[in-house]
């Protein structure tokens, strides 16, 4: 199941500060609910994990995140993430393009285009559920990302031993379900 999600949001912080975080997958990962960077393989490649729980279905993806394009001039980054569920329940891959645009008021506009491809049990739930789940995940990401920006520069470094906060499972399923029914009814 392939999905394309395009989101735009604005932050108060100047473009250079936002770029310092967006261009570092280790920092970005701390804002993604349930995600974790476990190891840096080389300059552009990281190993990581993400846990997604939708209702009774738990998927623990483990895989690699790779920066395939980094353009500091234009503040654009392209990241490719690929993972397989550790118990063989499926796989997922995501290509995310992030773009920053300085705003007149000194803030920054963040645009992200994500192309998500899900295979396996999770994908059976259909696009309406995956869409809703993605929306919720992205909402949480935006909130976390903004909180991260509000912190002083040093604090944005990822902790040495990151305590992973798993994606809030039950509430996620419930929110997604509500989203689905709201739209269908």
């Amino acid at each position: 199941m392939a999905l394309k999600i395009e989101k735009t949001f604005q932050v108060k912080e100047p473009v250079d500060k936002v770029w310092s975080i967006l261009s570092d997958p280790r920092k970005v990962a701390t804002s993604v609910p349930g995600a974790q960077i476990t190891e840096q393989v080389d300059e552009n490649t990281y190993k990581g994990a993400i846990r997604v729980k939708v209702g009774p279905s738990v998927t623990d993806y483990k895989g690699e995140v790779q920066i395939i394009r980094l353009d500091p001039q234009n503040h654009e980054i392209e990241i490719l993430g690929k993972g397989q569920d550790v118990r063989g329940r499926g796989s997922a891959s995501m290509k995310m393009t992030g773009k920053l645009r300085p705003l007149d008021d000194g803030g920054t506009e963040v645009t992200s285009i994500s192309e998500l491809n899900v295979v396996g049990i999770l994908a059976q739930m259909g696009s309406r559920v995956i869409n809703e789940v993605s929306n919720i995940v992205f909402g949480e990401f935006t909130k976390n990302f903004q909180a991260l920006l509000a912190q002083p520069a040093a604090a944005t470094d990822p902790p040495a031993d990151p305590a992973v906060k798993p994606l809030r499972a039950t509430s996620l399923a419930w929110k997604a379900a509500k989203g689905v029914f709201r739209r269908d009814s």
Binding site: M1, A2, R87, G88, V118, V119, A123
Partner: protein, 784 residues
Amino acid sequence: MIEKTTPEVGGMGYPIKRKEDSRFIQGKGNYVDDVHLPGMVYGHMVRSPYAHARLKSVNTEKAKELPGVLAIITGEDLAKAGLAWMPTLFFDKQMVLATGKVLFQSQEVAFVVAEDRYTAADAAELVEVEYEELPVLVDPHKATDPDAPILREDREQKSNHIFHWEVGDKAATEKAFQSATVKASVHAVSQRCHPAPLETCGCVADFNKATEKLTIYLTSQAPHAHRTLFALVGGIPEQNIRVISPDIGGGFGNKVPIYPGYVCAVVASLTLGVPVKWIETRSENLQSTGFARDYHMTAEIAADANGKVKALRVKTLADHGAFNAAAQPTKFPAGLFSVCTGSYDFANSFCEVDGVYTNKAPGGIAYRCSFRITEAAYLIERAMDVLASQMKIDPAELRRRNFIQPEQFPYKTPLGWTYDSGNYEGALNKALEMIGYKQLRKEQEEKRKKGELMGIGISSFTEAVGAGPAHSFDIAGIKMFDSAEIRIHPTGKAICRMGTKSQGQGHETTYAQIVAQELGIPASDVIVEEGDTDTAPYGLGTYASRSTPTSGAATAFAARKIRDKAKKIAAHLLECSEADLEWENGKFFVKGASSKSKTIQEIAFAAYTNIPPGLEAGLEAVDYYDPPNLTFPFGTYICVVDIDKGTGEVKVRRFVAVDDCGNVINPMIVEGQIHGGLTEGLAIAFMQLIDYDENGNVQGGTFMDYLVPTAVETPHWETGSTCTPSPHHPFGAKGVGESPNVGSPAAFVNAVVDSLSHLGVKHIDMPITPWKVWNILNEKGVVT
């Protein structure tokens, strides 16, 4: 016409209440999942999340450590016993548990056995399977592309093409097309759907190590055939296998194949020496067991200027999924699809079908039809409407001009079938009259002027049921005769056992009525038993509307054998010669002296107490019946729809179904069958599709996505009948259970297309969802 018995006897034609219903409505049915045996343990299947992937490793260590887990069977384990693969019912083989590769999402990978169901399910979660994803083939039209991934590495032929099949006179058909004044064509998809019986599939396998007897309680529509297949494939002596199909909660063809879960439960029970139960979840049923249809069809009709049809050309692509697990007679790769000339007098026809593999669940089974008849009936009825619309001839009139006429029967079709009897115009006229056709057309014209959308759809289908003549029909080589055994007890009551197996058809009532009709023993005094291979005579089971045409006929013939013996006993009791006796209403009487008579009950008592010299004791008979031909029920269905221009919703305003299934055993049961079949037809036309995304993920694998109609969606059905008996059946019956599912999809679709035809719409593929209709309305600029 059949002579009626008294109401007390309740022979043919009486709408007596179903004998089985008293236990069903009290929750006292006994289904496979109701079977509880001492020491019974439970199996759960580990399934593939991928549609196509190489299996790199299956690690069962963690799962085995879970307390309560007794065994885990993998494909490699089965391979050691030569059981990793099993034959399908159609010259192919399929994996029981995957080795090497997985070929569809939800394919069986490992079988976990534990002390209870929950532990088995939990342990299945702990089985770690490592896969390497492979390119996925979803679109059957791309199956034979040069760059298509080859799915079946086990086959010698390195291609996804399974078979090419053709029938008819190609040259003559081409010629007819070349000289034709009018040509009409339609491309129609009979989409992948699933019977989704209320009860999913399952079994309890019980191997007794002391007696070496294997008893399998099985959701089986064909228990005897399944016993033989277990013996042939598993190498277990057949006398040591007993298959019991208890009450079955709907089959619709889904319970004809043998599934990997059954085999795994048997292997587990043989290994552990305890009973092993395996019951599918709803999603497992929808995602892995026999789907139906998935025929991508093109029909072309050649006609003259008056709309008289000359030739029919059909080209079809059949998507069979990962394994060709079609359940159909081995002579017919596309089943009875070649009845696609339908109710019409085509001089020439040519039909070809190609089957291909894709990364989808294996099948296609005959969902409430005789092996691809629904596809055929849908195609020809759609094509006739396209021709009518193109020529601006009323669709009822076009059908009338082309029907095979009553005097043409027995009628040989250009594709090789011999129809037994029919009066197609009779059924059409009755349906037109019941629905008030002329008035409706007027109303439609007026509504169109006002911009309102209303459509009328007709389907004048011909079914072919009752497989079959043994010379042409078999399952895996076993011929499709069927059987009945009747035993009359000393007190004149009876027990019948059959080779068929009811899944809700009401056999316990209808077979009893046949006995009542033939012997005069009240239907209430007759017990009907099916499904136990240790007690019932051998038979091929129930599907393809074959029970009445085959076992029903066998029941009549067994009863007649009993009557022959009863006559000898009556002659002895009445001290006359057999030649002096006549039979009427359950008794023999002396010609010209009707007071001198013996009832069947008196005769039965004498069969055990006062046996004539030289005659065997007892009063019983068995009959194995091989029908000389199929039977060909038919009918006309008319549907009226209104379209909501705001939402695209189709509202079925009226639906008239006129069926002709020959002589009727129980009109109430026939009506119930028609209601059920029409409701399933409605679901296929408007709601149901087992869809796959580009990665082979099932998109119709739960009841959230695969919709079953409830009372809310189901319209009021108006039924009627005509009666054209089958000339070759002992009591002129034809079979009816599947007609409504075969005939109705075209009526629904024709009605919707008719409602939009003035906007230039020629065809809409099923399921016709509100979203699909709304998009068309939007495109045509008529959304309000």
